[in-house]
Symmetry: C2
Subunit: 214 residues, 2 copies
């Protein structure tokens, strides 16, 4: 089988989720960079829309199939690469993980999507993004108080962690004051000590502008 | 074990997803009605926020646990009630189903959430809701052309169908012209012939206003 190909953009939080999971599970892949800020957004070109009709990154070509939603990809990787699992065994623990994943992927991230920010317009977009991140993080903080150990759910890395770290990165872009969210901040710091999270960081990516590279 | 309790609102599309899955799997439950339109939204009261910090319906109390995100509930019900499965066996088919679920639950529905509409304001909210439904349904229609048989993915009912029908109901509220989306319209019609979808319909619910009941 050919190596998986990931269509990605360095600072897309949904792309970073998949980069973390691939790194965590030790799956080698090739990157194809889609620049959301160039030429009116390379994701809007016909060539890319044929790959993902939602005109969003990431897309993952793997085992002869093209996949287009990051959470679906995480579930798929978990099923076909059961090494270093990112879902617990117990169904009641799994539901806790998936709840956190949904709060982030369905409740918070969609409102800072580049197409949504474009519709809001340059003038209002920072306030808009921050408003929904603040609101979402308040709820997330409450939930994490009940579920967190060393990581989001207990002491092992799960899909919830894979989604949390890129969301905090987004929150920094929107200047969310993280002191309001001590649990989220602690978890984020803990997770960024792990290789899979560090190596897949936006600022380590080859498509990251030079001045941001670290 | 006590009967599951579902906190629900008749026209909440996320609540309807869970009502369909419970009906499909033949799981009996009690309903507690949370009126999103009354008293400034009953979901915003402290009593309900203690159940779900996101202040959203549905919430499901089951097997001693309180669950708060509809997609996480669908996955949970699938794991603990494997009668009448709503995910296919093959991982590449499962990813197709979960992609459609994500497109709806992460790409379309969050933008017509009652809190988002409130932020947009009364004047702009119909245009806003319709804009994102049109955009999302265009992408969904393209994807469904590749995956649909009698239902969203092949010829058996899946989580994608469970999410599609409530989203079309929402689209009707926002006056989306469904003739633009023949595949979605056909699937919706087909699915509404099934008991689990018909019996859980918003207009059949006890908390539906009398003038809408059917």
């Amino acid at each position: 089988m050919a190596k998986p190909v990931l269509y990605t953009y360095y600072r897309s939080s949904c792309s970073w989720r998949v980069r973390i999971a691939l790194a965590w599970k030790g799956i080698e892949y090739e990157s194809r960079f889609v620049n959301l800020g160039k030429d009116g957004g390379q994701q809007n070109k016909d060539e890319y829309a044929a790959i993902n009709p939602m005109k969003q990154v990431p897309a993952l070509v793997m085992n002869g199939s093209t996949m287009t939603q990051s959470v679906a990809m995480l579930e798929y990787l978990e099923e076909v690469h059961p090494e270093k699992l990112i879902l617990p065994k117990d169904p009641l623990d799994r539901v806790k993980v998936r709840e956190l994943v949904s709060v982030i992927s369905g409740g918070i991230q969609p409102l800072q999507n580049s197409s949504v920010l474009q519709k809001i317009g340059d003038e209002g977009k920072m306030e808009w993004g921050k408003f929904w991140l603040d609101k979402g993080f308040q709820a997330l903080e409450q939930t994490l108080k009940r579920t967190a150990g060393k990581y989001c759910v207990g002491d092992t890395v799960t899909m919830a962690d894979v989604c949390l770290v890129p969301q905090v990165f987004n929150a920094n872009r929107f200047k969310v004051e993280m002191e309001q969210f001590p649990v989220i901040a602690r978890l984020n710091g803990e997770l960024l000590k792990l290789d899979a999270f560090r190596e897949s960081h936006p600022f380590k990516m080859d498509d990251c502008p030079e001045n941001l590279r670290s």
